[in-house]
Amino acid sequence: MIKVQTEDFNQQVQYDRLRQASHTGAVVTFTGLVRDINQGEKISALTLEHYPAMTEKALADIVEQAKLRWSIINATVIHRVGELQLLDQIVFVGVASLHRGDAFAACEFIMDYLKTQAPFWKKETNSVGESYWVDARESDQTALSKWDIV
């Protein structure tokens, strides 16, 4: 399941959907949250812009890439857009597999790929009310190298 939405999501609902298929032995979930601090700056809010016609397609493509590499029984990606508050959930990636190795690798791969390929952009507001676009982190590019992409 792939979703881009403004609403929050529920961990238990997503987890329950992932674990239910026959043969499932391992479920790995990742959740990204709005940190209260980023690169040393205190944050008060976050806005997520996206490219609506492309985002769900980009996420679906990433999940397809993961399915070519690992044995996946079930996968979910949910990404929120719009205005978010501190500690809000931003993104959920969950993968169900027969064995844990596939679930861990596929979940991390999807996140690494999403971070550099899916058209979302963060704008932060700091504690004195200034807004600015978040810079891409070089570490997100280097994270891709473990999957032999870039």
């Binding site: 990204g32 997520l48 812009e49 996206h50 490219y51 016609a53 492309m54 397609k57 980009a58 493509d61 990404h79 931003i90 993104v91 996140m111 999403l114 971070k115 550099t116 390929q117 899916a118 058209p119 979302f120 952009w121 963060k122 704008k123 676009w133 978040v134 810079d135 891409a136 982190r137």
Partner: protein
């Protein structure tokens, strides 16, 4: 015609989110970029960045991609979701 979109800080800096260009004059992404850069110095600078990303018909692409009428081309800075 080809629909051209700009996102995030690139859109803010250019002051434009969307425009249409002729498909005859823009046979591929590189030519389209060159034509856009000719607008003025600000466009030249912003669209020359090595980190500029491009998507053609909602798929990440590159400058060699050919274009035809009805295509949608998006330019944007490095993505920062997740």
């Amino acid at each position: 015609m080809i629909k051209v979109l700009f996102f995030a800080q690139l859109r803010d800096q250019l002051g434009v989110s969307e425009l249409s260009v002729s498909s005859d004059e823009n046979p591929n992404v590189q030519v389209l970029l060159n034509n856009l850069k000719n607008k003025d110095e600000q466009w030249e600078k912003l669209l020359s960045r090595a980190t500029l990303m491009v998507a053609v018909n909602q798929t990440i692409s590159n400058k060699t991609a050919t274009l035809s009428s009805g295509d949608e081309v998006a330019f944007f800075p490095p993505v920062t979701g997740g």
